[in-house]
Every structure is written in structure tokens, then in C-alpha cells.
């Protein structure tokens, strides 16, 4: 034995486990409005601090403050609130539908509605998202029909994906939503490739890549940063840090790095952290990054600091790995309630109108569900044809698949 004690392996642990008191003392929250807003062509090395802070607009009193505030109109903010409420109501109904056996699986967005709903509004028609599985707000906020989403979830006869994909793995080129893969992080580098193509063709369109905190450990995350950095691709590299990768706390994927955003710094990419539960902050930061991309200034890394209030999916039980009340202690609050409070302070909203909007939205979701269920659910009613199994593997069906289709009786 030499001069040193034997080695021991370091395995990070969250601050608390079930039965303990929730503890978010590790999440350092700066005051709303305290983080500066740099010019979009700032040199990345001049804003290194932004990878360690949190950009916030809405303060505890519901006021919009600081240099990132004041970029949206009343009407736009009201639309944003309704988008988030719509997503929340949609989630609740689909979660129930899964419990009723109408589909196999569902993933909800509870607590994270602001991230995708606000981000979508910073993009233009023709831009492309390469999402992961918790960004349905991109579709909701772009006006994609809820019935179509439900048809996909129910894998029914009207499912635009013909029953081939797991529920919630939507695809819509028209709405800038790339087909979702179950293999984590693969889409991250694809987004960079799409953005490179736009640059090759001297187009004005930009791409957005999406990943969760856990999946930043995947090789493709790093591949994407290498390619985005090398070619200065017009892409926004989004990291949704909702604290949990199924049961694994974010410290496992983050390891020794200060923040997920800080990973962009080594690549010379501007990196910002934003309050993911603050619709106004998310929008302002996304708009800043989109302008950078569109002005050919290259990629931006954005980490959204948020909290996954619900389970990872309908197959998950969070009470087995975190305190049951942890979500209530999340220091950045509820994105819907925060924006609602802001609109009330602004004088353009009220508790009564909110309650009325909730009722209208619930009615809208129920109507959509009725229509979708009219086309069938996973185990009842109309379903895609078995013939659909064989279509679309190739542009033209080769002989061996045709033989197999005939063998199946179609």
C-alpha cells in the first residue's frame, strides 16, 4: 500500500429519499429580473455566468420584471395561458383513458407545460423541432388538432401513424414536429443535421433539438454538440432538466459538471439557464436563441430548470424513489398558476374567467375525446388494417414483403 488510502467509488445520491423532508437547497434561485440580457451577437465567453444562473421574469408577486420582460402582448400571454391549460386538461383526460384501458401507455407534462408551450411561440412556420417524449405542448401551441393526437394515442383507425408507434410518439412535418424515437438522444444530432441542411441551402429556417437531463449522458448528446459547434449550425439545443430521469435524480447524469447548460461552454456555445416554470422567461430566452440562429450566429444551449410533478409515465411510481410531497416544495412553483397570477395583476384576467376557461377547455377536450373514441381505442372499435403493417417500410413494397402480406391474408 502506498501513501494513499484505498480508492472508493463515488455514487451521487439525491438530497432525500422517500420518508425524508423535501430539500431543494441545492437549487440556487436568483431574484426575478436580476440576470442581464446580453446582445444576441455576444461572444460566448462573455456570458459564461448565464450557464450557472437562472433567467427569471415573473417574481413572487406575479409581476414581470427585469431585462427579459415585456416582449409579449396581453393577447399573446392569454393565448399562452390557454395553451398550458389545454395541455394540462388533455393530460388529465389521457391519463384517465390509460387507466381505463383505452391505451397502453401515457406520459404527462404536469409542471412542465411552460417549456414547450412557450418555446413553440418563439419559432416560425417551417422551423423544425426534434422532440423527445414530453413536448406535446409544441403541437398544442401550434394548433395541431387534439383529436389527431388522441387518435395516435388510441392507435385507432384514424391514427395518422396507422397504429405503428407507441402512444404520444407523434409526427407532424406540417407542424414542425419530427417523428419521435424511443431511443434516447438520437434526435439531438438529427436536429443539428437538419439545421446544417438549412444553412447549406441558405434557408431562413432553424431547428430545435430537445433532450431530458438524464439523456444528456447519451453519446448522441455529445455528438450533437460537436457537430453544432463545428459547423455553427442554426439550432437551439434544449435541455429540459426536470430533476428526474425515471427514478434517477439529475445528479447522476450531471456528474461533476456545475449545470447541464455548462456543458455547452466547452464547445464554445452560448449557454443559458432559464426558469422552466416561467412562461415569459422561457419565451424570451427562446426568442433570443432563435434570433441568434436566424442571424447565422450559430447554436445556443438552453437548460430549462423545472420539475416533473407527475410520474415519468403510466408505468412509473415516483413515491418509491422521492418524497411524496416533493413537488409541492419545488421552489419555482406551478407554471399555470404563476402566469394566471401575472395576468390577473395585469388586469386582463380574473379567477372567474379562469374558472370559465377551465370549463370551456375541459369541454373541448371531452368533445375531442368523444370524436377520437368514435374511431376506436386500443382494444375496442375501429383499428388500423393489418395491411398497414406491411405498407411504408420502403417507398415501394419489395417482393418479399408482398409475399408476407399475402401470407397474412391481405
Amino acid at each position: 500500500m502506498g501513501d494513499f488510502a484505498p480508492l472508493s467509488l463515488h455514487v451521487p445520491e439525491p438530497a432525500v429519499r422517500p420518508g425524508g423532508a423535501p430539500d431543494f437547497s441545492n437549487v440556487k434561485i436568483p431574484k426575478a429580473g436580476s440576470v442581464p440580457r446580453p446582445i444576441v451577437d455576444v461572444a460566448p465567453e462573455e456570458i459564461r455566468d448565464l450557464a450557472y444562473s437562472i433567467i427569471r421574469v415573473l417574481n413572487r408577486d406575479g409581476e414581470a420584471v427585469g431585462p427579459w420582460a415585456g416582449v409579449l402582448t396581453d393577447e399573446e400571454i392569454l393565448t399562452g395561458l390557454r395553451d398550458m391549460m389545454r395541455l394540462r386538461a388533455f393530460d388529465a383526460r389521457m391519463l384517465m383513458a390509460q387507466r381505463q384501458g383505452k391505451t397502453s401507455f401515457y406520459m404527462q407534462h404536469l409542471g412542465e407545460e411552460a417549456v414547450s408551450c412557450a418555446f413553440r411561440k418563439a419559432l416560425d412556420k417551417g422551423d423544425m423541432n426534434f422532440p423527445t417524449y414530453r413536448q406535446a405542448g409544441l403541437l398544442i401551441a401550434d394548433g395541431y388538432p387534439m383529436v389527431e393526437m388522441m387518435n395516435q394515442i388510441f392507435s385507432n383507425e384514424a391514427d395518422p401513424l396507422r397504429g405503428r408507434q407507441l402512444p404520444i410518439m407523434y409526427s407532424s412535418k406540417e407542424h414542425g414536429f419530427f417523428t419521435i424515437s424511443g431511443n434516447l438522444a438520437t434526435q439531438y444530432v438529427q436536429a443539428v443535421g437538419w439545421a446544417m441542411a438549412s444553412a447549406i441551402k441558405s434557408d431562413g429556417k432553424i431547428a430545435a433539438a430537445w433532450i431530458g437531463d438524464g439523456s444528456t449522458a447519451e453519446s448522441d448528446f455529445h455528438s450533437a454538440l460537436v457537430f453544432a459547434s463545428t459547423y455553427k449550425a442554426p439550432v437551439i439545443l434544449n435541455i429540459v432538466n426536470n430533476q428526474w430521469a425515471i427514478s434517477t435524480f439529475q445528479g447522476i447524469a450531471r456528474g461533476g459538471s456545475g449545470t447541464f447548460a455548462a456543458r455547452g461552454l466547452g464547445f464554445g456555445i452560448p449557454a443559458l439557464r432559464v426558469d422552466g416554470n416561467d412562461y415569459l422567461a422561457v419565451y424570451a430566452v427562446a426568442k433570443w436563441a432563435a434570433e441568434r440562429a436566424r442571424r447565422n450566429l450559430g447554436p445556443t444551449v438552453i437548460e430549462y430548470v423545472t420539475y416533473r410533478v407527475g410520474a415519468h409515465s403510466t408505468s412509473d411510481d415516483p413515491s418509491a424513489y422521492r418524497p411524496k410531497t416533493e413537488s409541492e416544495s419545488w421552489p419555482l412553483g406551478d407554471p399555470v398558476l404563476r402566469l394566471k397570477k401575472h395576468l390577473i395583476i395585469r388586469g386582463v384576467w380574473s379567477e372567474e374567467r379562469h374558472a370559465q376557461a377551465e370549463a370551456e377547455i375541459l369541454d373541448e377536450v371531452i368533445q375531442a375525446q368523444k370524436e377520437a373514441e368514435g374511431h376506436g381505442t386500443l382494444h375496442a372499435g375501429g383499428r388500423p388494417s393489418v395491411r398497414d403493417i406491411f405498407e411504408g417500410v420502403y417507398a415501394e413494397m419489395p417482393a418479399h414483403i408482398r409475399r408476407q402480406r399475402q401470407k397474412a391474408g391481405y
Partner: protein, 337 residues
């Protein structure tokens, strides 16, 4: 007509395609300024600019992921993986992404990419420069897999691959880059400039994907081969004097079943030859198809000749490589059956 090596034919195919279609882009490790370690892309950057032919970081998954994204945008990426052996970090992107994007999005997005990679042994490349991974791709629905055996086919097939609306894996037998090779490593190599299949049109032409080529008509036994093994099979046929019909598959997926069946029903015997390891190799698929479709015409069991079920050794390369002697013994065995 010009005399071209397979390297020149492959380069010509990309050149012709890039000239015809502004959306065709070529990239990979060292392919831009330098023109690739085998020089397959030499001159393309100078001719088309560095946004249409460029170097990438050493990151195979990144190359494929970027290509998939570009294809989703509407470009036609033709990428190079420096050696087939380096493909594995990109395997997920190829097999679970590129291959399925059309299916999983119901045609909303497609992935018309070409993935070129030098394959096979016989160049003293050892275990990390000699692999033949075709069966890893033919097992994946949604991919097309091509292995040319000569410059003429390589060019026509590569142009077809670039024009194809689906992802195509294009495996280039590097032992054939500079000339045909019959497995006799001690003999001097004949260059393509002295071979009829080195005669390649300079302009545009295509060879359809999914059509095999009968390289030698025969009546005693059918030899099914592809890539380097086509030349080995022809050498073995000549040396044994057995009247074999030699089929060059050219395309493994989709496979030209009709040509195989027609031939085996005529000859009643079949030998399958490939360079990849035997177990679960592509030869097993051919043997199964022959059994399913030609059982009552067979006069002997189908025999497979392949690389051994070991990694590719360096010093014993010529004991590993399925040469004409091994193919000759298989022909004799099947003729006795």
C-alpha cells in the same frame, strides 16, 4: 468509355450525382480536402465547394445523425464511414432511426441517405479493418444493402442508391478497389485497366437495385456470391473444371430471388460463398431461400463457404480468407451429393 478502378467509379458516381442534383451532399471523416483515405471523394470538394463535400469530426453516430436530419430537410446525403469496422457507433442511427423513419411517421418524414463503407479483408487490415457486416444490415427492415463486385456495377449501383428514396448501405469490397482478385494472394494483381469491367461510361447510367447478374452460365451447380467472392468463385470454377453457374447478387436486400431459384432449379445444386463469418451470415438466408423454393429440385444439400467464426486475424489472413481452394472443395462436395 473510360478505364476506371472501383475507387474511380465510385467517385465518378458521386460526381455525376452531385452535378445532376444540387441536393446531393457528401461528407465523412477525411473526405473533404484530402479526398478520403482511399481517395474515393478526391476532387469533389474542389469542384462542388465545401458545403457540398466536407470533413466531419471523428464521430460516426454524428455523421449518421446529421445525415438523417439533412434527409428530413430534403437533402440527399451520401456519407462515408471510413471502414465498415467503424460503423458500430452509428449502428443505432442506421438501424433504429434511418431504417424506420418512413414507417414510424407513416411517410410524413423519409430518409433517402446512402452510407458508403469499405468492407472485407485481404489487405492485411487485421480484425479492425477487415469486417464484412452485411448480415447486420440485411436483418434490418427498411434498409437496402448493396455489394458491388466491379467498377461498372459500383458506379451504376451507387447512382441508383443515391437516387433511391430509402436508406441504402453501400458496402465497397476494398480488396477490389484497384483490381479484381481471385484469392491467389501470391499472384500479381491484375488491375481494372486490363479488365472488361473496368470499362465504365464517364456519364450517367444506373443499374437497378435488386437485380442479380449471372457472371457465368453453367449447368452443374449454382454458386451464389457477391463482392470479392464473385471473383473467387469464378477462379474456383475454372480451376476445378466444374460447369458452375456463378450468380453475382449485387444487391443483398432486396435479393433477386427469381434469378437464384431459376438457376438452382436448373442445376439442382447450390454453393453459397461469402467472406463474412459463417454463423448467422447472409449465406444462411440464401440457403434457407433455396431450401424453401427449390427443395424438390435439389440433388445435394446446400453448402456454405465463409470466413471462420473468429475475428479476422492479421498474420493468418490467407488461412481465414475463403479462397478458391475452399470453394473448389465445396464444389466437389456438392457434386458428389
Amino acid at each position: 468509355m473510360a478505364r476506371m478502378t472501383m475507387i474511380e467509379a465510385v467517385r465518378s458516381a458521386m460526381d455525376v450525382s452531385m452535378a445532376r442534383n444540387d441536393d446531393v451532399v457528401v461528407f465523412g471523416e477525411d473526405v473533404g480536402y484530402f479526398g478520403g483515405v482511399f481517395r474515393c471523394t478526391q476532387g469533389l470538394q474542389a469542384k462542388y465547394g465545401k458545403t457540398r463535400c466536407f470533413d466531419t469530426p471523428i464521430n460516426e453516430s454524428g455523421i449518421l445523425g446529421a445525415a438523417i436530419g439533412m434527409a428530413a430537410y430534403g437533402l440527399k446525403p451520401c456519407v462515408e464511414i471510413q471502414f465498415a469496422d467503424y460503423m458500430y457507433p452509428a449502428y443505432d442511427q442506421i438501424t433504429q432511426e434511418a431504417a424506420r423513419i418512413r414507417y414510424r411517421s407513416n411517410g410524413d418524414f423519409t430518409c433517402p441517405i446512402v452510407v458508403r463503407m469499405p468492407t472485407g479483408g485481404g489487405i492485411f487490415g487485421g480484425q479492425t479493418h477487415s469486417q464484412s457486416p452485411e448480415a447486420l444490415f440485411t436483418h434490418v427492415c427498411g434498409l437496402k444493402v448493396i455489394v458491388p463486385s466491379n467498377p461498372y456495377d459500383a458506379k451504376g449501383l451507387l447512382i441508383s442508391a443515391i437516387e433511391d428514396p430509402d436508406p441504402v448501405i453501400f458496402l465497397e469490397p476494398k480488396r477490389l478497389y484497384n483490381g479484381p482478385f481471385d484469392g491467389h494472394h501470391e499472384k500479381p494483381v491484375t488491375p481494372w485497366s486490363k479488365h472488361e469491367q473496368g470499362e465504365v461510361p464517364e456519364g450517367y447510367y444506373t443499374i437497378p437495385i435488386g437485380k442479380a447478374d449471372i457472371r457465368r452460365q453453367g449447368s452443374a451447380v449454382t454458386v451464389v456470391a457477391y463482392g470479392t467472392m464473385v471473383h473467387v468463385a469464378l477462379a474456383a470454377t475454372e480451376e476445378t473444371g466444374i460447369d458452375a453457374e456463378v450468380i453475382d447478387l449485387r444487391s443483398l436486400a432486396p435479393i433477386d430471388l427469381a434469378t437464384i431459384v431459376q438457376s438452382v432449379q436448373k442445376t439442382g445444386r447450390c454453393v453459397v460463398v461469402h467472406e463474412a463469418t459463417l454463423t448467422s451470415g447472409f449465406g444462411g438466408e440464401v440457403a434457407a431461400l433455396v431450401q424453401e423454393h427449390c427443395f424438390y429440385h435439389l440433388e445435394a444439400p446446400v453448402v456454405r463457404v465463409a470466413g471462420w467464426d473468429t475475428p479476422y486475424p492479421h498474420a493468418q489472413e490467407w488461412d481465414y480468407f475463403p479462397g478458391p481452394a475452399r470453394v473448389g472443395r465445396a464444389l466437389a462436395e456438392v457434386m458428389e451429393g
